[in-house]
Amino acid sequence: MDPRTFLKGLHPLEIKVLLRYAPGDGLDAARLASELGYVEGHANQAQAWLSAKGLAAETGRSSRNVYELTALGREWLEAGSPEERMVAWLAQHGPAAMPTICQAVGIEQKDAGSAYGRLSKEGVLAMGQDKLVSLVDASKSLRAAALKALLAKAAAAGGILDEGTLGDAERALMAEVAKKRGAADAAFKVAERETVTWALTADAAAVSALLREEGVSGDELGAVTQELLESGSWKGAAFRSYNIKSRPARLIPGRRNPYVQFLESVKDKLVSLGFEEFDGGLVETEFWNGDALFMPQFHSARDIHDVYYVSEPTKAKAIEEPYLSRVATTHENGGATGSRGWRYGFDREFTKRLVLRSQGTVLSARQLPTASVPGKYFGIARCFRYDKVDATHLSDFYQTEGIVLGEDVSLRTLLGFLEMFAIEVAGAKEVKYVPGYFPFTEPSVEVHIKHPVLGWFELGGAGIFRPEVTEPLGVSVPVLAWGIGIDRMALMALGLNDLRELFSYDIEDVRLRRAKL
């Protein structure tokens, strides 16, 4: 392996080890602590990182006991062990009965019992015929003195004594006063510690050599700090190289929604083709949603199973005149449009009924009374349908619709627009038109396109608004009306295959989504 590959990725903690030791030198945390001044955590990091690179390997592992000073142990160190307290009290107060001593020095009967046992054995205390305990020779209390020394030693070592630092006598005493479990009533708690010994591998030698050759010391500067810049202390110093291959931290940026961006890109395309955007309310009347589009009030698409009704209020207060009267007459007998009409009695109450807009063409119709000639208008309108929601149906969704008004627009102009949409908006290579049917246009056509990825599909429907639609709304020139379906292209751009995902609530999902616009 080329030692150079390691060079950039080494941390100062590793570098100093590599520079100081040779392969095979026995290393452990204690050695690194004493020789390199590493705290235990740094020593472990150096070992772990070097091992991950194959520059170090574990050579052995041993366990040993350590003894932690308990709360009781600390109390004994400060206030004395039961033995000490008994001896001290008796020296001051003279012989006394056990219960009296216990109460006076604040130790429990059983602890006092075992303490007395040990002291009498040493010849420090004795009990007379009168059951009174008396002090015989305080200087013989060697165990209590040894215990006190051990507690002090532990406190001085930060509360932990390593097995290896104890002499034989200390070990024997420790065995008596330390417990593994239930250490609350013992002076020390016994714990097991593992010592890992390791060494640099043979590969490390080349890396070490390279470090020396490059003059890397491990003392190079880390972050560029304001202090460094102000003091100028960076001058003449070397900066540590960073591992540029390490995985960057994840950022969570502010971001647009790719589906909305897709919709906006379509809007921008249409604007570039000279179309002006229109908009409208979500709640409509049957009048604009169907009647103004010359759909007879008995038309099957106006059934309760196709349109959502507003429950309260159920009706608009009024429908705009003169449009209402003109549309009503047109339905009944064609009015002044040259049509024979649908030949039924137009219901002027039904027409006021409030529905959720079910087709974007509503907005086209609404635009007609104020539209300019020539004029081009479009809208991407949220529409509502009585549909079971699944991968290909939503209860609310966008429709893209528009109109073109002009003295001379014709079927051929319409085909020209559809061709522009196919190429500019959908990126199609081939376009095909077939006769279509829509209640509000005549003639009507469907446009099918060959998409580079999706293959042939129906891009949309279009036609010339029937005079029964335009004339009652005050328009006497032909009006091209078109609608294009952009959802399939949106799904493709977003790499999705379920319409429901366009309106995802999942934050992470939306964050990670990328669109090919």
Partner: protein, 567 residues
């Protein structure tokens, strides 16, 4: 849009030649039809082609014979002759008679009928007739309300047949799909077809019945046939076909369509005279099939203008002939005789479309528009995009949500009253029963489902909301709003106050804040945003009670701002 199944063998024998799918598909365009499915496995006699018909004004295309006819004509098969039609002042002699009684006048006055004769009905034709009955009566006949159809075995009928209204409790017969004799009232209430269509006659003091001179019941129109006279089977010869309904033209056209279909399939059509006890649009005594259509006309100049290509009157006549429409020109004026089976020429533009299809849509070259117009986004769209750009700069992720939701999410979980929320009276499920009155429920739903997404969460949506507003004509208002939410350990009022301040600064708005007591936010940690003294939005720390309703355990602060008020 109706979908029909046609027997492959019958269909192609009527078209005049076989086709493969690659030929059939473009041929169907003439009829605005699409090939839906064609399983080429299985025995040739039984193979079925499924076809979808797009034109709801052309019920004549919703049958095997009708669709085949349009294709045959377009392929050069000539315009078919139907000499059995009676016309005004020219009634054909009829061997059969139906008498329509005064008693049915209020309920379902119109009736048309003819007899199919000449050869035994085969399986394919019977299936097709039943399909035609279903498609005609459900789509064109508005689920049998304006037109229904029945077929009967002539050998069991005693003439003349009476069509009349009778006491629903006084007449009984054995209906199809039943073993026992039932009164008309029981049939309407209990028979499966009665349950489906009984509402059409419900409430009337009399129910409709077709009855032979001997009292034998043919059917209870528009509900169900009798189990004997009305049980037509393969092999039957001489059938009576009748139509009843509320719209004379629709009833008459339906009879014409079915008569032409049987005629095309080689059956003989024999007229039936219907004598009414009252006036009808076509007279008191009408012999069916009856040609009632008025001529349609269009100027060739109008054709040229609408289609964008120059058409002389002769070219219009020629194109119409290819669609089966006979026409003649008088100067620029073209006068068309509407085919017996059609009644869809409502306006001159309807003829223009037939000219377009007759000429062939592919012959019209797309033309680049010549009119110059300036394109522009709506003011609210442009303004919304500015607001969104600021939000992105502030580290917020844009979301987009559905506009329909449940009362649970929009009302209950938000701890708000339902007072101004728009409810749908015919929801499909309670999950889509309300129009969203605010963007906040969507944002909270996002937070509720995204606790595993790395924090902090900062999201926004700009879009429409709608709510009840009695002052308006529609009793509702639609507004463009922006809603934002931040969720993380330290999300609080102050963070949002900073965001609102930055957003409004870059939108060029001077604002002030005022106390607010919205139940969705913590008291004392929420503010109304005022511009020019008018409230335009609010923000604050989302109330823990609301968070609990959503199952959210991360602190949230949120804001909703009415963009339209800033425009």
């Amino acid at each position: 849009m109706p979908k029909i199944e046609v027997n492959e063998k019958l269909f192609f024998s009527l078209v005049g030649r076989r086709m493969d799918p690659a030929e059939l598909e473009p041929a169907l365009e003439t009829a605005k039809a699409e090939l839906d499915a064609w399983d080429l496995a299985g025995p040739a006699d039984e193979r079925i082609i499924k076809i979808e018909l797009n034109d709801t004004n052309r019920p004549d295309l919703w049958s095997t014979a009708g669709l085949a006819r349009q294709l045959r004509i377009r392929l050069g098969g000539g315009i078919p002759e139907y000499p059995f039609f009676s016309r005004e002042g020219d009634q054909r002699p009829a061997d059969y008679r139906v008498v329509v009684d005064q008693s049915i006048r209020e309920l379902r006055p119109y009736m048309a009928a003819f007899v199919v004769s000449g050869k035994a009905i085969d399986d394919a034709m019977l299936r097709d007739a039943i399909q035609t009955q279903e498609k005609l009566c459900s789509n064109f006949g508005r689920k049998r309300r304006s037109v229904s159809m029945g077929m009967y075995r002539i050998e069991l009928i005693t003439w003349p047949v009476a069509y009349k209204g009778v006491d629903p409790d006084a007449v009984s017969f054995v209906p199809l799909q039943s073993d026992e004799s039932m009164t008309l009232r029981r049939i309407a209430a209990e028979h499966p077809k009665g349950k489906e269509y009984g509402h059409i006659i419900a409430g009337s003091p009399v129910y409709p019945i077709l009855m032979g001179a001997d009292g034998g019941v043919l059917s209870m129109a528009p509900i169900i046939n009798s189990a004997d006279i009305g049980a037509v089977q393969v092999g039957d010869r001489d059938l009576l076909v009748e139509f009843t309904g509320t719209d004379m033209a629709a009833v008459c056209l339906s009879a014409s369509i079915v008569a032409c279909d049987f005629s095309d399939a080689g059956y003989e059509i024999r007229p039936v005279r219907v004598d009414y006890g009252f006036d009808t649009p076509f007279g008191r005594s009408v012999t069916f099939p009856y040609y009632f259509q008025q001529p349609a006309s269009v100027d060739s100049g109008r054709v040229s203008r609408l289609l964008g290509d120059s058409f002389g009157p002769e070219q219009v006549v020629e194109a119409l002939a290819r669609m089966g429409v006979r026409a003649e020109s008088h100067g620029q004026h073209v006068r068309a005789t509407v085919p017996e089976y059609r009644d869809d020429f409502i306006h001159a533009v309807d003829l223009v479309e037939d000219v377009m299809i007759g000429r062939g849509l592919a012959s019209f070259a797309p033309e680049r528009p010549r009119d110059f117009t300036i394109g522009r986004l709506s003011p609210i769209e442009s303004f919304t995009r500015r607001a969104k750009d600021v939000m992105v700069g502030l580290g917020y992720q844009e979301m987009i949500y559905n506009y329909l939701g449940s009362g649970r999410d929009y009302i209950e979980r938000m701890n708000v009253p339902a007072d101004d929320v728009i409810r749908i009276s015919n929801p499909m499920t309670e999950n889509f029963e309300y129009v969203r009155p605010s963007i906040l429920p969507g944002l909270l739903q996002s937070e509720a489902v995204s606790s595993k997404a790395p924090y902090p969460h900062r999201i926004f949506e700009a879009g429409k909301v709608a709510f009840l507003d009695d002052a308006r004509n529609y009793g509702t208002a639609t507004r463009q709003r922006i809603g934002l939410l931040c969720a993380h350990q330290a999300a609080d009022y102050n963070e949002l106050a900073g965001v609102v301040s930055a957003l409004l600064y870059y939108l060029g708005e001077e604002y002030s804040v005022d106390d607010s007591d919205d139940p969705r936010f913590l008291p004392g940690r929420q503010a109304r945003i005022l511009i020019g003294g008018e409230p335009v939005g609010l923000f604050g720390e989302v109330h823990p009670a609301v968070l609990e309703n959503w199952g959210i355990t991360m602190p949230c602060a949120a804001c909703e701002l009415d963009l339209e008020s800033l425009l």
